[in-house]
C-alpha cells in the first residue's frame, strides 16, 4: 500500500510548514487527488490517521478534492473528460489520448492555530 508512503510525505510537508509558520495544532489538511492519480483516497485517509499520530497533525481532518480526468484526443483533436485510464474518447471512441489533467497529488493548504 503505497498510500502509507504518500501519507508520511503529507505529514512531513505539514510538519515542516507548521514549524515554519509557528502552528502548534493543525485542524484541517486539504489535498488535491486527481481522479486519475495513482492514490486511493480511502487508503490515504486510513494511512494519514496513522502517520499523523503523535505529531502536530494528530486528529486533523483530511479534506480531499478530486479533479476530473482530462485528456487531449489525438484522433478527434478534442479536449475531453475521461473517468478512468484506458477509457476511450467519449466523443470519437479513439484511444490516442494524452492526459492533460486529473492526475495531481498535491497538498493544497492546511488550517491550524
Amino acid at each position: 500500500m503505497h498510500e502509507m508512503t504518500l501519507a508520511e510525505s503529507v505529514v512531513q510537508i505539514i510538519e515542516t510548514t507548521a514549524l515554519h509558520e509557528n502552528i502548534s495544532r493543525v485542524v484541517v489538511v486539504r489535498l488535491a487527488l486527481g481522479a486519475l492519480s495513482h492514490a486511493d483516497p480511502d487508503a490515504l485517509r486510513f494511512a494519514f490517521d496513522a502517520a499523523a499520530a503523535g505529531g502536530v497533525a494528530k486528529g486533523a481532518r483530511l479534506e480531499i478534492s478530486r479533479a476530473e480526468g482530462r485528456a487531449k484526443c489525438h484522433d478527434c483533436s478534442q479536449e475531453v473528460a475521461i473517468d478512468q485510464l484506458g477509457a476511450p474518447c467519449p466523443d470519437c471512441g479513439g484511444y490516442d489520448l494524452d492526459l492533460t489533467g486529473g492526475d495531481a497529488l498535491r497538498v493544497v493548504e492546511m488550517e491550524g492555530a
Binding site: 500500500m1 503505497h2 508512503t5 504518500l6 510525505s9 503529507v10 512531513q12 510537508i13 505539514i14 510548514t17 509558520e21 502552528i23 485542524v27 484541517v28 489535498l31 495513482h38 492514490a39 481532518r61 489525438h74 478512468q84 485510464l85 484506458g86 476511450p88 484511444y95 490516442d96 489520448l97 492526459l99 495531481a104 497529488l105 498535491r106 497538498v107 493544497v108 493548504e109 492546511m110 488550517e111 491550524g112 492555530a113
Partner: protein, 237 residues
Amino acid sequence: MCATCGCGHSDVQVGGHTHAPGMDATRVIQIERDILARNDHAAAHNRDHFARDGVLALNLVSSPGSGKTTLLTRTIAAMDSPAMVIEGDQQTSLDADRIREAGAPAVQVNTGKGCHLDAEMVHRALHHLDPTPGTTLFIENVGNLVCPAGFDLGEGARVVILSVTEGEDKPLKYPDMFRTADLMVLNKSDLLPYVPFDADTCIEYARRINPKIEVLTLSALTGDGMGPWVDWIAGRR
C-alpha cells in the same frame, strides 16, 4: 462544531472565523506542494548523476514471478558493455546473489514492509556501486504492479515486464504502471503454445493506456528474442 475548521468549538463567529476566548483562531496556510516532491527532488538528483556519469538507468517493474531476474542474468551475459544491478525486494539477498553469479556487481535493497523502491533508496545504493561511464544500471523494482508506478527513481527509461502466463488484460487492470512505462517486454514467449495468452490483445490493451509504449516479445529462458532487447538497451544510450 465550527464548520470552517471542524474544531468542536460551538462559539465561533462565522464571518471572521475567530474562536471563543481560550481558543486561538485558526488560519489557513497555502502550501501547494506535490505530495511526491521530496521523492521527485531525489529522482532529479539521481538523473543528474546518471547524465553526468554517462549511466543508462532502467527501472524494471513487474508482478512477482514475471522472470525479471532471469531476464537480467541472461541480459548481462548477452551485453558487451558493463552492467550493474540494484535489486529491490522486501527481504533476502537471493536475487542479488544470482546477479553476482552472472558476473555483474549488485546491491540488494531490502524494503522491509515497503512495497516499492524510492529515489532515496536508489541514491544510497548508487554510492555502493559507483558505476563507470557507459554502464547500464538495471534497477529491479519490488515485484508489484501497483505501488512502484508513482515513484520516479531518476531512470532513463521504465520497462514493464509481463509474462505470458499472466492475463493479457493486466495493462487495463494496472493502468498506472503501463501508462508510465516506455517499453513492455512480454516474457516467457516459449510458453505461448501452451497458454491462452493473446499477445495481440495484450498489446492493444497496453496501447489503450499508453499509445506510445514500445513492445518486445522474448523468452529469457530460451534466448529467443533477446537480440532486439539488447539492441533496444544499446539504442537508449
